[in-house]
């Protein structure tokens, strides 16, 4: 609420991110978090309602940062094809550069699940999906993309992205996964774009 509380709250999430990334959910204790912040365990409950809540808020925050970075990069371009391509590249780039978020993802890949029945991070994934939807809608309006059904297509692309992440970081097929991603991206752009090919 207040500014002070808000600042403290963000401080807590940042600290929690470090610890969850380093030690994992189970091994990170509330005492660890509290100690590193110089406060007491009990006091944490003033800001979050339980450990799981702390974890989800922490991860949400980290994801929002990732989404913002991608959105910002995407806004630089005008052409929907370019936007799409930038989005695909930046999403990966960001994860490569942010060890903590990547570590969280490796430990807990279930975080990405576009299925609302697993409510856990549905809302956050929704943000990512919506960005895809926006680009698709724009591309169609611009006449750059074929007239695909936006919603399911956005979900498909998101799933492909998640599948790639899992292959790369969890199933660890490293190089081949990246090549697959690059190849797939080409195909998708080719299949998505009308007339003149979208550059890449």
């Amino acid at each position: 609420m207040t500014k002070a509380k808000d600042r403290k709250f963000n401080e807590i999430l940042a600290t929690a991110l470090e610890l969850f990334a380093h030690y994992g959910y189970k091994k990170t204790t509330l005492k660890d978090v509290a100690d590193k912040l110089g406060m007491t365990k009990s006091n944490l409950y003033f800001y979050v309602s339980n450990k799981r809540d702390l974890y989800e808020k922490t991860v949400s925050m980290a994801f929002k940062g990732w989404q913002k970075a991608v959105r910002d990069a995407v806004e630089q371009a005008q052409d929907a094809g370019d936007k799409f391509s930038i989005m695909a590249t930046q999403s990966i780039q960001y994860l490569m550069e942010h060890d903590e978020l990547r570590s969280i993802f490796i430990r807990d890949p279930g975080i990405f699940t576009p299925f609302p029945n697993e409510d856990r991070f549905y809302k956050i994934n929704l943000g990512a999906i919506r960005l895809i939807e926006e680009i698709l809608t724009l591309g169609i309006k611009q006449g750059r993309f074929h007239e695909v059904d936006v919603k399911p297509t956005a979900e498909l692309f998101f799933s492909i992205y998640v599948m790639f992440l899992i292959k790369t970081y969890v199933k660890s097929e490293g190089v081949s996964a990246i090549r697959m991603y690059e190849e797939g991206l080409k195909i998708i752009l080719r299949g998505l774009c009308k007339d003149k090919p979208c550059k890449r």
Copy 2:
């Protein structure tokens, strides 16, 4: 000891490997292991002396499989240069193909430590180092390699290998790490081999 106990013991380790790989050390409970095997927690203590022991025996077993695979592949070649190159390639290949061992490594990279003060997996790493030593010694005898000081060189190569694994799977620099590894391998072989270059 007996055949039956031995079979059960291996069954336990195999099951434990799955669980440790999937859930990590802390989150895997002995009840998980026991339940999946259809036995009681207490009975596990007939086969291992505690949870840590179960973990170490499990990891040891998995590592032995990896070492055996590499050794077998290495034996196919006669030339020390080829052996070295195969060893380097197979070590990575095996880890890429075995999700569980890789998952263990990602969660607990400290496993690889050639320092005897951390007694944990010293013996196992020693097995890997010895293979390198053998290849180096052979190469020198064959006149293929320069006369390097075998022991420290073997340790150096092992460290490089570990560093690469960490970059690839823990620090997750994926592609670039693999390229670095390939480049490094070329340089090493060039610097190691005498006269005619070792093929790669």
Copy 3:
């Protein structure tokens, strides 16, 4: 049953005595006993029906040795007064010389309880009480002792003995307890004996 089994059985009790004396009942595990004997835990159950049983049989054996020693010493004398006096002295003497039995007693003084409702060692204490009874009966027959009611008197004397042991070893009033015992003995002999005083 068989001679071999009997020998083994005594060996077990002797070993158990050492361990129970040294570590106490709770801290002594059946594995301790089995290991020291070079047999398995399970096999112990062929000789005793459970840990408590082993303990009680062990203590019984030790007590029987103590009773035998006292009986043997008592038999040397003919005069009932002398017998009584020797019994009193020897009982203490023996405990002083046998560390293990004494250690058992110190840890578990409840062992001595002449109350049949606590069935634990009733039978064994009974042996001691009977010796007193015999001496009393003899003394009366010899005309040396007043005609006391044998049974309750024997129990009284036994209780006094136990009280003394507790004061000495458990409540640890050492010296004063011994003086009390000596004084008490004099009084008792004086009160017990007719005509000419019983020597001491």
Copy 4:
């Protein structure tokens, strides 16, 4: 820290002392302690860090009481010879009057060990040794004692005291041990004091 916590803490130690003295370390469960105090097992961990810690804190407290009593008695006298003699007498006296501390000692005589490698109760024994040192130093300054080397002499006397306790309560040589102690004390005072003999 706070007054309330401090009171509770002492209450815990007092209760634990009763139980440890009565049942011994192993047989005393934290549930026993907690139940007797009307609190939960877990809550005990707010005051001590584990069972061993509870035991050591409990014993420490009991020992401090014993040391204080001896110190107080010693302070009544001015003459170093008298102080020494009082210390020797009071140390025994106190243990005789305090069943619980004595019981603890009988069960766990290793508590008294002036060797710092066994860190367990080193500090506490140190307190006792220091009192001896102080008396020796004073006696030398007063010209009452010969100029002995204070530190090793204090340790020697402490060792003699412990040896006596073990003979009396553990090896249970009761009377003879006390006589030995009294004789030894006379000799020591004679050997320690200059000129006129220290009274006893």
